[in-house]
């Protein structure tokens, strides 16, 4: 590793995560940005969600931005982490660590099986198929045939089975550190994976899948690797989610959950580690804080035609997202790459119409 990459990929991230780790012990208030001091449980809960979604967005970027796989079903693997761990602990009364191991094992198996089936088709059709599988998971969680998920009520976690450090409002700082640790682990795993030799092939597939095939490699095998790694990390993030929110709700199974991850990655910058992390953090923060903007006195005074859209965070974020796709395809981090193709611009080759169901396509 050259000195420059050592600084860029190891020292700088460590410094950033180190600064973030110090937040719970800082007893300062930042007016306007946060209602309460940084070390208060309320703010730490929001910041924990921000860094958790930074990590989750990065797991999505691993398949979307680095490998060119447009999946609409990433929520399924997060939901496996959120629900299965909780079901094992609360419904089946398993011990915490056995439940975690079991959840991760199931996630790996499901990702392998469903990934292999979905990769029968490429491009946009892949997106639709992954969406359908995620929808099946959502229906299963909603209808709750075995009375495990408790459907729309959601499933609160049995706190007596959870590690003491993660229970109670005074331990919110531990949950924040847990979420930050998840982000750091994902960050370094993704860094290591995309610089490894299979990782190079993933990025080659993103640029031009046919060329990879001509070189005598089997793109589907490599795509499956990226898919499984990304999905497994997502399931781990789901477990952190379950601990942070103290249980499981149907929100994580909705198709829109994957779409928000897509929004985060594109807003921050696809195919960039800092981009996905920044996008996840910023999106989560704005989604929370824009509600306050919508009910502020400045907006209250506006005519109804302006007030209604401004009071809907998702409307604003959707609009921002469309503007970024049009005018800033590299995302926010793309501003720094100065004209080099970045973000969405690099994805053009991977999802072409002739890679899809319509065109003659040889079976792998």
């Amino acid at each position: 590793m050259s000195r420059r990459t050592l600084v860029r990929d190891v020292f700088v991230p460590l410094a950033v995560f180190g600064v973030l780790a110090a937040v719970p012990v800082l007893h300062v208030s930042i007016p306007k940005l946060f209602d309460q001091p940084l070390s208060s449980p309320g703010t730490l809960q929001l910041l924990g969600a921000c860094v958790l979604f930074g990590g989750l967005a990065l797991t999505y970027d691993l398949q979307f931005g680095y490998t060119g796989l447009l999946s609409f079903g990433h929520a399924l693997y997060i939901a496996i982490g959120v629900y299965l761990s909780n079901i094992a602990i609360t419904d089946w009364h398993w011990s915490f660590w056995v439940a975690i191991l079991f959840t991760m094992g199931v996630a790996v198996v499901v990702a392998n099986v469903l990934g292999a089936v979905s990769m029968r088709v490429g491009g946009i059709a892949f997106a639709m198929v992954t969406l359908a599988f995620a929808q099946a998971g959502a229906v299963l969680a909603l209808k709750d045939p075995h009375h495990w998920t408790h459907g729309e009520e959601g499933l609160g976690a049995d706190y007596t089975k959870l590690p003491k450090a993660f229970v109670g409002i005074f331990n919110t700082k531990n949950l924040y550190w847990l979420a930050l640790a998840f982000l750091a682990v994902v960050f370094f795993v993704v860094r290591w994976a995309v610089e490894s030799s299979p990782g190079r092939v993933w990025q080659a597939i993103r640029e031009n899948e046919q060329r990879v095939e001509v070189l005598g490699m089997r793109p589907n095998l490599y795509k499956l690797q990226a898919f499984v790694l990304s999905s497994t990390l997502a399931a781990a993030g789901g477990i952190v989610y379950m601990l942070l929110y103290n249980g499981s709700t149907l929100a994580v199974t909705a198709p829109n959950f994957t779409l928000t991850l897509l929004l985060m990655v594109v807003i921050g910058g696809a195919g960039s580690r800092w981009g996905a992390v920044l996008g996840g953090i910023l999106y989560t923060y704005l989604n929370d804080r824009l509600v306050a903007v919508g009910s502020s006195s400045a907006v209250e005074g506006l005519p109804r035609a302006l007030r209604t859209p401004l009071s809907q965070p998702l409307f604003l974020l959707g609009a921002i997202f469309i503007l970024i796709v049009f005018f800033l395809p590299g995302g926010l981090t793309g501003i720094a790459t100065r004209g080099r193709p970045s973000g969405l611009r690099r994805l053009q080759e991977s999802i072409r119409p002739d890679h899809t169901l319509n065109a003659p396509q040889e079976d792998a």
Binding site: S118, M128, K143, T308
Partner: protein, 299 residues
């Protein structure tokens, strides 16, 4: 026997809506390579447009039937105009950038649902329709709600009209040729992009029809109704084979009937799972969908 008949007719009614949504999706995808996530918004434009005009503009019309028909017509027109505008303003500038086009439709679908919630709230709105639609007709011992017949008949009319349009008119010819090979059509000196707006408008009308019918079928319209119908329409499109109207029709019936039977005879929710399983099986056996092999053989 009467239960089976009721399930079958109800399933066909549901399949009619799936077909109306899937046909537009399939044509748009076949011609332009765009997976249109904003199709859910087109459905909502149709249903909310009809609901709004029915309660705010045509509420003075005494005949409920006339009131429903008038507001539905406005709903359909709104669907066509909205879809055409989406193509012109948001899709066209990103021509050939398929992934960005998909992303823009994703952003639009999210922003649109949020806007609906902002303006009219989360609560479903009651849809005013002639009482006759919710009465039942007894056929072979089964009491079948009349709206099912309307849904099936509408979808059949749209299917025939679309096929006639695609087979008998010059624009239909250009669209069919564009689905087969867009580059060749352009090489022959035909500006295929004009057909894009047209296909979007057609898809918008068909989706708006589905929106109106879903208001009748479910009795209410809600902000996320469009999105939930859209997911099954995606499954229909993939099973039917992208770009094929006939394939969409067959797959819509197959998916809706499977769903109805399994939901009734097994238990609620099983139908949705079985449909996804069906999708997996079709992909393993015929990755290009039911109609895919036919397209491949002609090419």
């Amino acid at each position: 026997m009467s239960t089976l008949l009721l399930l079958t007719i109800t399933g066909l009614g549901l399949g009619a809506m799936y077909f109306l949504i899937a046909s537009g999706l399939s044509l748009i995808y076949g011609l332009m390579g765009v997976l249109n996530f904003a199709h859910g918004a087109f459905i909502s434009v149709g249903s909310y447009g009809t609901w709004w005009f029915s309660t705010n503009v045509f509420d003075g019309v005494h005949s409920i039937l006339l009131r429903w028909l008038l507001s539905s017509l406005v709903g359909l027109a709104l669907g066509a105009v909205f879809a055409g505008l989406v193509e012109l303003v948001l899709i066209r500038p990103l021509y050939t950038r398929h992934i960005e086009q998909v992303l823009v439709t994703v952003g639009l679908s999210i922003a649109f649902v949020a806007l609906l919630e902002g303006i009219w709230g989360n609560d479903p709105k009651t849809f005013v329709v002639p009482a006759w639609l919710h009465a039942t007709t007894t056929v072979g011992g089964a009491h079948i709600p009349n709206d099912r017949w309307v849904e099936i008949a509408t979808a059949a009319v749209v299917l025939v009209a679309l096929q006639l349009f695609l087979r008998k008119t010059r624009y239909g010819l250009i669209i069919r040729a564009g689905v087969e090979n867009r580059a060749m059509v352009q090489a022959l000196g035909i500006d295929v992009r004009k057909a894009f707006t047209l296909v979007f408008a057609i898809g918008g009308v068909a989706a708006a029809v589905a929106g109106v019918l879903s208001g009748v079928y479910f009795n209410v319209v809600g902000p996320d109704q469009g999105t939930s119908l859209l997911i099954f329409a995606f499954i229909v499109v993939v099973i039917g084979g992208l770009g094929s109207i006939g394939g969409s029709a067959v797959a819509a019936v197959l998916v809706a009937l499977t769903q109805q039977y399994a939901n009734y005879y097994a238990s609620a929710g099983v139908g949705d799972m079985v449909v996804v399983l069906l999708l997996g099986l079709v992909l393993l056996a015929r990755p290009r969908g039911l109609a895919g092999a036919v397209v491949g053989a002609r090419a």
